[in-house]
């Protein structure tokens, strides 16, 4: 047989698609949830007839009081059920995503098996097309199997961690201590991410489980916790949101506000599901995704989200990308895809494990004409949040990652504020399409990273290259180049012959700034290219910022 004949043999699908648990699997969750609710209520009822916890049990009355002992016992059992129920719900939520894909793969596989076993495929081109389809299907099947195993690998240990009396007692004791734990956590959060990391490292597994069950919303947003914990917590919250909102939709009780909320949650679900499926180009294994931030109600409904591809807790190289104006939580699928692209590029560019995160935990302005775009209040606030997140990433890991921050458009201004005002420990900085890096940044060195580790990317046709804000500085090399160009003259000539009205947009951006400057009485003080002393810059910033905030309105 020749090589050509070998290539032209009709291939049949070889990867075996594993069975997908049917929708009826959720009946187990329903049953456990009902049992859990009954037992929790029973524990509460019995607790009302029990000896008070603070009873001075000198004579052992409390210890021998049967109603008290029963209440304690039922409460313990309910605590164990809480752990199993959470894991089962998460598993079934994942199955809901996997099941339609399983049906599609089954159909495609059956068609390809039929085609391979029939004698209709004789044309070489048709055979090549068929074989390619088989190859694609086999890859998809293996990927699907891996994702099912990943879901099972999360569920089984969770069930095993709560299937003995000793474990349940430990979980229940920790649950009793949740109030104290929450207080400890609040105190640690006030002290900073390092204190949070230290607290978490010192907690018993049962205490961690109890906190996760009791306050997933808090854990999901706490800087300094391991990314895996935040991911677990945020997925629980996302799952709860989706269940509640879809239930309301099914019941016909969904309000307009809830419909918007569901749309935002589903955008995150979609992005996360896709990231979960992403396969590392080097290893062929799932890269893994982490939901680092999830709050669809934040920032007046624009929402906050951060999804990482790769493991933020262990990757040698970690990149955090901050997007710019017009982005909100509905853009999560696009932002996550960009993070995935960056992951893939980094993995193929060199050795070392990688994690790439799209971070949108700040209120990005809604449009170029949004007054918030012309001021830096949101960048300043976002900078603080970003710095906390970067500090949290650092603190949660015993081994330091090579940390790169990437800011795009207004996101670069946010990055500038984070680095210049809060000094997080960052190795490299990349800004792209940047309109400026904040009031205190005139040189790359102002960002607090080592020399040669600041990279500026821009498109020569990007109108933002000329955009400046009151108080908005740019890296020095940009200013020098900008001064050499007769940009203002060109802008005033009207629409560009090829790019239409785009330069006018720059003028639109400029005009309000000039108005603002005139209002503020600072016109002419800002001279691009002129190096101001740090003292003068601070004095100027102190003069400008509060007034800018008022001029731009409360939304700035």
């Amino acid at each position: 047989m020749t090589a050509t004949e070998t290539e032209l043999a009709v291939a049949a699908p070889s990867a075996v698609l594993e069975d997908c648990p049917p929708p009826s699997a959720r009946s187990v969750v329903t049953a456990v949830r009902t049992a859990h609710r009954i037992m929790a209520t029973s524990a509460e009822d019995a607790g009302r007839h029990s000896a008070p916890p603070q009873w001075d049990d000198e004579h052992g009355e409390r210890a021998t009081h049967l109603m008290t002992a029963t209440a304690d016992g039922v409460r313990t059992d309910a605590a164990a059920l809480t752990v199993g129920l959470g894991a089962l719900e998460e598993f079934c939520d994942r199955l809901d995503v996997l099941r339609p894909e399983h049906e599609s793969l089954t159909t495609r596989r059956a068609a390809l098996v039929r085609a391979a076993s029939s004698s209709t495929l004789t044309d070489p081109d048709a055979i090549r097309t068929h074989n390619h389809a088989v190859e694609v299907l086999d890859t998809a099947v293996r990927d699907w199997n891996r994702r099912l195993h990943a879901a099972e690998d999360r569920l089984v240990p969770a069930l095993a961690s709560a299937d003995t009396v000793a474990e349940a007692v430990s979980i229940a004791r920790a649950a009793d201590d949740v109030t104290d734990l929450r207080h400890d956590l609040t105190t640690a959060v006030e002290q900073g991410p390092t204190a949070v990391a230290v607290l978490w490292a010192g907690l018993a597994p049962a205490a961690r489980e109890a906190l996760l069950a009791a306050v997933p919303t808090v854990l999901g947003r706490t800087d300094g916790l391991p990314a895996s914990v935040r991911d677990q917590a945020n997925r629980l919250v996302l799952g709860d949101d989706l269940r509640d909102l879809r239930g309301a939709r099914q019941d016909g009780t969904l309000t307009d506000a809830q419909r918007d909320l569901l749309e935002r949650a589903e955008a995150v679900e979609q992005a996360l599901a896709r990231a979960d499926r992403y396969v590392d180009p080097r290893t062929g294994d799932l890269a893994g995704a982490q939901l680092y931030v999830y709050d669809p109600r934040k920032f007046g409904g624009d929402g906050a989200v951060a999804i990482a591809v790769g493991d933020l807790d262990t990757a040698e190289h970690v990149a955090t990308r901050v997007p710019g104006i017009t982005t909100d939580i509905l853009d999560t699928p696009t932002l996550t895809q960009e993070a995935t692209n960056l992951y893939e590029s980094a993995r193929t560019a060199g050795p070392g494990t990688v994690a790439s995160m799209a971070w949108l935990d700040y209120d990005a302005p809604d449009a170029a004409w949004d007054p918030a775009t012309l001021t830096e209040g949101r960048a300043e606030d976002g900078g603080r949040r970003l710095a906390d997140a970067l500090d949290g990433l650092r603190a949660s890991r015993p081994d330091p990652a090579h940390l790169t921050v990437i800011g795009h458009s207004y996101g670069s201004t946010t990055v500038g504020y984070a680095l210049s005002e809060h000094d997080p420990d960052v190795d490299d900085v990349v800004v792209a399409g940047s309109p400026g890096l904040g009031a205190d940044v005139d040189r790359a060195g102002d960002l607090g990273v080592d020399a040669g580790h600041v990279y500026v990317a821009r498109n020569s046709r990007d109108p933002r290259r000329d955009a400046r804000r009151p108080g908005g500085g740019q890296p020095r090399q940009r200013r020098r180049r900008a001064r050499r160009r007769p940009q203002r003259g060109r802008l005033r000539r009207g629409p560009h012959p090829r790019r239409g009205h785009r330069p006018r947009r720059v003028r639109e951006l400029r005009r309000p700034q000039q108005v603002l400057r005139a209002r503020l009485g600072v016109a002419g003080q800002h001279r691009p290219g002129r190096r101001r002393s740090r003292r003068r810059r601070h004095a100027r910033a102190a003069l400008v910022r509060p007034v800018v905030g008022r001029a731009a309105g409360p939304g700035a």
């Binding site: 187990v28 456990v32 049992a35 059992d77």
Partner: protein
């Protein structure tokens, strides 16, 4: 040595019994739910089923055991209440026969053997 005393009227015992019986019913329902889930555990797949079975078996068994115990406590209270009432009646007859006639309570009046103060609910409720 003083023996511990408890002031509990038969009525208080009868009121406590339903608490246990209600608890027994609820825990029995929870146990049955978990047992039912046990029957469906195979639907979650062969890799999950063993861990799920252990989990459901553990807490289903525990719920049923606690239900049985609660049921027993309720029955015990009702039995005590019945016994005390019978004891009251027989002791009353005996006392009535021993007491001087003017002090004799009218037939059928129950006597409180366990104290003269207001009977206390063993679970802290006001009667």
């Amino acid at each position: 040595m003083n023996r511990p005393e408890i002031d509990a009227s038969p009525a208080a015992l009868r009121r406590a019994a339903p608490l246990w019986e209600s608890l027994a019913d609820d825990l029995g329902t929870a146990g049955r739910r978990l047992t039912g889930a046990h029957d469906a555990s195979a639907t979650l797949g062969p890799r999950v089923q063993p861990a799920l079975d252990r989990f459901l078996e553990q807490w289903g068994t525990s719920a049923r055991r606690r239900s049985r115990q609660a049921r027993g406590h309720g029955e015990q209270l009702r039995e005590m209440s019945r016994t005390y009432t019978a004891l009251d009646l027989s002791t009353a007859d005996e006392l009535r026969s021993l007491l001087p006639w003017p002090s004799t309570p009218s037939p059928g009046t129950p006597l409180t053997l366990l104290g003269t103060s207001t009977p206390q609910d063993p679970f802290g409720r006001t009667p």
